[in-house]
């Protein structure tokens, strides 16, 4: 049913209403590329048929272990159940839907994209513009810095090629890696990779959360962190000092002093100076600190080195990606699918280009309401009925560019998967 059109005035579509979600699943969700992305082949393979889907229905009903034979069946069920959101799990050793007929322990997770989740919650202690569930263009800066570092490390260090970054709909970002070598990783390998990348550790009560220099706290960084630090120095000045002004308030500068080595003269001097002139900006304060530390260089080389290292740690603590490690460690962890609609904001979880992550603004992400309005408008202009159209409906909305970005990514994944398959086939012939 086409949604009734009113002249000029936009319809206010509520993303929490079942009709709106149903229209989204019927008319806008990009099933074809979505299927190919998970399946990595034109014909349904185990990567799709043995894959778990979990649906969240109205009233917080959660159904796990759904699986589908093909894209059409998936589409039908999605429209029928009309979930407010859905999540993707791993490819299991059998079809998850059959799990009740299987022997105990026969349903084991096997392959799964390597995934990462970065959420703004973990940045609450260091962001000054918003709190809690809110997010603005300014605090997106933290996410942007994290994406750049993580994207670089995953490509350069670990050699992955097919990274899909997806806006999570409110205040975070997900990354899906579809390389063959990523799919094949077992839990232990995933865990080791995450531990390798994880730098920020420790709970609320631990002030200094960067402890990566060995037991004596004086070793060199691992090269991959050296790389990251070079990039983050710029981000630190721009984001932490200028934009967020993290050390502007007393609480802010005390947090900084707490994670530095506790030399009474130096710390005491800085505290006195900043208390007597609370208007000094974060840039000035960081300059004060640098100056004070430089003063140590002649007299106390050892302490100078200590502070120099500590300042590097500060930069990491404020800008290094804070990843939700548990999500990445286990294959059976479920993660919200791309192109879902966030039930709270109505925003579509669209792919994000990591090269332009700085320009990304969460406020400009298309919402399901906007998209349906665009469809209404297009229908009014063309005067066509939807059934006669051959093109996909999302092409008439602002979702188009995002689906195209997704399709491009999927095409690259498919090319690679085909060539590996050919290689294994050839190998098989050699026997």
């Amino acid at each position: 049913m086409p949604i009734p059109i009113r002249d000029d005035s936009m319809t206010d579509y509520d993303p929490s209403s079942p009709q709106v979600m149903n229209a989204f699943y019927r008319r806008l969700f990009p099933y074809r590329p979505f299927f190919l992305w998970l399946n990595q082949d034109q014909v349904p393979s185990k990567l799709f048929t043995h894959r778990e889907f979990a649906f969240t229905l109205a009233g917080d009903v959660y159904i796990r272990y759904n699986s589908f034979h093909n894209s059409d069946e998936f589409k039908k069920e999605l429209i029928r159940l009309n979930p407010s959101r859905f999540e993707i799990g791993p490819q299991y050793s059998a079809r998850p839907r059959d799990r009740k007929t299987l022997a105990a322990g026969a349903l084991q997770p096997q392959r799964r994209e390597l995934v990462f989740d970065i959420d703004m919650t973990d940045y609450d202690e260091i962001r000054t513009c918003c709190t809690d569930k809110k997010i603005c263009k300014r605090c997106w800066g933290y996410i942007a810095a994290a994406v750049k570092v993580l994207d670089h490390a995953l490509r350069e260090t670990f050699g992955f090629k097919h990274l899909l970054w997806v806006y999570s709909g409110r205040r975070g970002i997900h990354c899906w890696i579809s390389d063959q070598s990523a799919l094949d990783l077992n839990d232990e390998q995933r865990k080791s990779l995450v531990t390798f990348l994880e730098v920020i550790k420790g709970g609320k009560e631990q002030a200094k959360k960067v402890n990566i220099r060995g037991s004596k706290d004086d070793a060199e960084y691992h090269p991959v962190l050296g790389d990251a630090l070079e990039n983050l120095k710029m981000e630190f000045v721009k984001l932490i000092l200028h934009d967020q002004d993290c050390f502007g308030t007393e609480k802010g500068w005390e947090a900084l002093l707490a994670i530095l080595p506790q030399d009474r003269d130096l710390i005491g001097g800085l505290r006195r100076e900043w208390q007597s002139d609370p208007t000094r900006s974060s840039v000035d304060k960081w300059g004060d600190l640098q100056q004070a530390v430089a003063g140590l260089k002649k007299g106390n080389q050892l302490l100078f080195k200590k502070y120099e290292r500590a300042m590097q740690d500060v930069i990491l603590q404020y800008t290094y990606p804070r990843i939700d490690a548990e999500v990445s460690k286990h294959r059976n962890h479920l993660l919200k699918a791309p192109f879902c609609v966030h039930p709270g904001t109505g925003r579509v979880c669209i792919p994000v280009n990591p090269d332009q992550v700085d320009e990304f603004d969460p406020d400009t992400v298309p919402t399901v309401g906007e998209l349906l309005n665009q469809l209404d408008k297009a229908a009014a202009e063309n005067g066509e009925t939807p059934s006669q159209r051959r093109v996909e409906e999302y092409e008439q909305t602002s979702l188009k560019s995002y689906v195209e970005m997704f399709e491009k990514h999927v095409a690259a994944v498919l090319r690679d998967s085909r060539s590996t398959k050919r290689a294994t086939k050839q190998e098989g012939m050699d026997f």
Partner: protein, 511 residues
């Protein structure tokens, strides 16, 4: 495939590397290699177990070699659960393997290298059969085997180890000098040793990062474009990883082929039994009487009453008294007491006599034979899945199968009300007075849930031992059978002392 040399004609899929053991009952197939240096079959002490043994073995060897190895593996497993420091763990493993599964290096004298290595190899392959069937068992087997291999690898002779590694022909890519210099800064950064010499003399292998997850997780290697640069000094990670992944794959393959194992009922029960005894912790440190007859020799049905009065801990004394009074115990009570008696040294046939006698006239012979005898035999590992269950430890008694309203099993300190406990103790042990300070002491411990402390105190009081000494060296009661062992040992000491005294008295008279 598994191929016993009986005359069945089996379609042999010999390309399958699962296992090929020929069995021959008549002939013990030890070659005539005798003592001396390593033979061509076992040139190295270490073994990756790539080729299944194709020699003839006797049924007995099949089982005993496997059990010997099983002991070592379950010991390793229980050691690794105790979070010991690494060095201590390694030395414990070394000591234990020296006793139960000795494997000498080529330079060792007076060692029958071939025989040791043959035993090692056969044990490994037999256990593969028992442990391949579930993912859980496979994982535990791989973990224990890996720990064993690691221990041997690290204690191996340096030269022999190098030769062994060469024989494996790993296709590790060696980082050439150009590349080494290109990444000099990064590679040095990941080294412990900062000296120039160390860098120059070190060489690196290049492997996909996911083959060395332990090194990646601890940031001990440099990684670029998916390849980890592993220095020679960290090679052990690579070797262990290779060992584990090959073993995992082989086990899965064996599991797939196991149902097609065509054998004549001689091996099946052995294989089943091995896996289930691993699960129930055979040879684990729970409780092991020093030899199969029990620490103090066999106890017969007639002796139980005497032993009970002198040596039973409160929980067992309670059950025994109940049984004597009511001629009946409920299931978990029977189990707790029955396994305990087995640990004390009551053999199966005596156990049947004992229980028959205890039930007395309340039960017909027919009913006893039908319903109770089976359970007794079962708990001695003679029925069902044939697990030789170990006696329950205090921890199990305290936490498992909580007694219901009609049950009398469990731990009196935990499961009795304070009033009942104090009257039970004062009635059972004349040494403890109801209103004494000691009783208050015991009840206080119970209140603070220190049940073992309370129990140990009772042991001290009833055996005239100083407070704090416990079962010797301050050890507290952690297992009912340890109480009995210590109690009987103390009694024996006293008897010996008296005897010695008498002897010397006699001698005095003589002289």
């Amino acid at each position: 495939m598994f191929r016993p040399s009986t005359r069945h004609n089996i379609p042999s899929s010999s390309s399958n590397p699962a296992l090929e053991v020929k069995l021959n009952k008549r002939q013990s197939g030890i070659g005539s290699s005798g003592n001396g240096g390593p033979s061509s079959r076992y040139p190295y002490r270490l073994n990756f177990y790539e080729r299944p043994p194709t020699l003839d073995i006797t049924l007995e060897e099949f089982e005993t070699f496997a059990i010997a190895r099983l002991r070592v593996l379950s010991q390793i497993e229980s050691l690794s659960h105790r979070s010991l420091p690494f060095a201590q763990l390694q030395s414990s493993i070394t000591n234990y393997t020296k006793q139960h599964l000795l494997l000498s290096s080529n330079t060792a004298r007076n060692a029958n290298l071939d025989e040791e290595r043959r035993k090692d190899e056969i044990g490994h392959w037999v256990l593969r059969l028992s442990f391949c069937r579930s993912p859980d068992l496979r994982a535990r087997f791989v973990r224990s085997e890996l720990a064993l291999f690691r221990n041997r690898f690290e204690t191996d002779d340096v030269n022999e180890r190098a030769q062994f590694l060469r024989s494996l022909e790993f296709d590790w890519q060696i980082v050439d000098e150009n590349e080494k210099m290109r990444y000099e800064k990064e590679l040095r950064n990941c080294m412990w040793e900062k000296k120039d010499d160390a860098f120059r003399s070190e060489s690196w292998f290049k492997v996909p990062w996911y083959t060395v997850p332990d090194l990646v997780g601890s940031r001990r290697v440099f990684i670029r474009a998916g390849m980890a640069y592993v220095p020679q000094s960290l090679q052990i990670s690579l070797v262990l990883q290779a060992f584990a992944s090959r073993l995992e794959k082989a086990l899965e393959l064996t599991a797939k082929n196991l149902p097609r194992l065509d054998e004549d009922d001689r091996l099946g029960p052995v294989i089943d039994h091995l896996a289930s005894s691993f699960l129930s912790g055979v040879a684990s440190s729970d409780y092991q009487s020093s030899d199969s007859e029990g620490a103090q020799g066999v106890v017969t049905a007639e002796m139980v009453d005497d032993v009970a009065r002198k040596h039973f801990p409160p929980c067992m004394r309670n059950l025994y008294d109940r049984l004597k009074r009511d001629h009946h115990l409920k299931h978990f009570g029977r189990l707790q007491l029955g396994l305990f008696l087995k640990g004390v040294g009551l053999p199966l046939d005596e156990a049947v006599v004992f229980w028959r006698r205890m039930y007395g006239a309340t039960m017909s012979d027919d009913k006893f034979n039908k319903e109770y005898k089976y359970n007794i035999r079962h708990s001695y590992g003679q029925e069902g899945k044939r697990t030789n269950y170990p006696p329950k430890s205090c921890q199990q008694i305290l936490t498992q199968n909580q007694p219901g309203t009609q049950d009398s099993h469990g731990c009196p300190f935990r499961h009795f009300s304070p009033e009942n406990l104090s009257s039970f103790l004062s009635n059972t042990y004349p040494q403890i007075d109801r209103s004494s300070l000691e009783m208050k002491d015991i009840l206080d411990s119970v209140k603070n849930t220190h049940y073992h402390v309370a129990c140990t105190r009772v042991f001290e009081l009833t055996h005239g031992i100083k407070k704090g000494d416990g079962l010797g060296d301050g050890e507290s009661v952690a297992h009912p059978n340890k109480w009995v062992d210590k109690s009987r040992e103390l009694e024996k000491d006293i008897i010996d002392r008296i005897k010695n005294k008498e002897d010397s008295d006699e001698m005095m008279i003589d002289s």
